[in-house]
Symmetry: C2
Subunit: 232 residues, 2 copies
DNA sequence: TAGGTCATGTAATCAGTTACATGATTTT
DNA sequence: AAAATCATGTAACTGATTACATGACCTA
């Protein structure tokens, strides 16, 4: 269980770094522990909590297929326990943290967080746009507008929530919530700006010292032309 | 291969939505295709390209363990081909896109991108901070300062890159790069602000209509006290 | 000649999703 | 009585990482 120092060939930084021991990374486990720290809850309830509060809060999504087995595992590990099972007709299991669970949560919180991992398909596409789809910007503008719309909806969702919702937000949670909202506003401004820039047909390549784009363009045309000839 | 309309029990939105057909989502596949659209490259070369340019560009990471098998698969599918193999002593395989590959890339670019998926452990932790670790803000301030440092380093990395680097950036790629840099600046400002706020010991809970935090605190103390008694 | 970098590849594993099965309760 | 929602769970799968194996070439 000790950290291991290794030449990390697989990481591609081609240097030496620490391989983390298992157990401290982000996972469903800690989200479950965290949500249960707010209040005892059921698997189903946790899911809706994550859906509702965790949206764009940097939580990602969690499916039932990982919640229920994980809850069982946490009970086995003694981190949570059932508060009461199916008091009414509906067989709902309500879980709460054990003292071991509280300790584990606190310990995890004090561990340094790993850098944010994000994958934004829009950005990925934009980085390849110039070679892959140089002629039609219409499609990209459409992508941007959809993103803009999504973000506007998200913004009002959060604004509504912070104003009207009765559920608890602590001081720290509130600060991060303010951050999230400010960032959505920032993003919206930028998406608007990008749409505007994109609309004024410019088409000046920014940097192409080795004529990489020119060559790519040529290769692309060549490849597609060859295709047409082959089909005859 | 047709879209299927389903009552989506597993998604937890507990509503009806479209299940996407496979093949259009973000994946290593399209990153490989995209990097190869810039210029023919090897598996190893693609990896360093992703490390270097893709850092915080919304690409995520890619490991050799997924690159090499995926390259093989793409050859089988006829989307890429080896340009030349190991001309010198070193057995480097250089791949390039086929016409089918260019078509696939262009098609993928025109598909609407899925919403960004991100998981930021720092935010997750902050949302649970108030219940899990109410007493010591020191640890959180430390997390924030580390994040601040990381972002400052990232900023200078990107600023250096756009100024001095000779590699190609197209118009669109340049715009998204500007966005990324602006967002890092925005984040830095906010992290600074948060550290400042955190330092002036306030400790006023923001919203707690149902005394959820009070109760959580009590449960926590109770659970931890019980633990101590049991150990006797 | 030893250590680093360049370079490709595979087997084991893993965290998580998807899809399915089941059934009670509530709403229309 | 049908449809939607609440609620739990499992089996199959999947995309990816980790860890390992191998070897050439480069430079201090």
């Amino acid at each position: 269980m000790k950290d291991k120092l290794t030449t990390d060939n697989a990481s591609g930084t081609m240097s030496v770094r620490y391989i983390n021991k298992k157990g401290d990374e982000v996972s469903v486990k800690h989200i479950l522990l965290g949500v249960l720290s707010w209040a005892p809850n059921s698997g189903y309830g946790i899911k809706s909590e994550v859906e509702y509060k965790g949206r764009e809060l940097g939580w990602g999504r969690v499916s039932f297929g990982s919640i229920y087995p994980q809850l069982k595992k946490l009970v086995d590990e003694g981190l949570i326990q059932t508060l009461h099972t199916g008091n009414e007709g509906r067989k709902t299991k309500i879980y709460e943290l054990t003292s071991k669970g509280w300790t584990e949560l606190t310990h995890w919180l004090n561990q340094p967080p790993s850098p944010p991992e994000m994958r934004d398909e829009l950005f990925i596409k934009m980085s390849f746009w110039d070679t892959g789809s140089p002629e039609d910007r219409k499609s990209l503008i459409h992508h941007l507008r959809s993103r803009l719309k999504e973000n506007r909806e998200m913004l009002s969702h959060f604004e509504e929530w912070t104003k009207n919702d009765l559920s608890a937000i602590g001081e720290i949670g509130g600060i991060s919530m303010d951050f999230i909202i400010a960032r959505i506003r920032f993003d919206i401004e930028w998406y608007e700006k990008m749409v505007a820039v994109m609309n004024q047909q410019s088409n000046i390549p920014r940097q192409d010292p080795d004529q990489l784009f020119e060559k790519a363009k040529a290769r692309r045309i060549e490849a597609l032309r060859k295709d047409l000839v082959d089909e005859d």
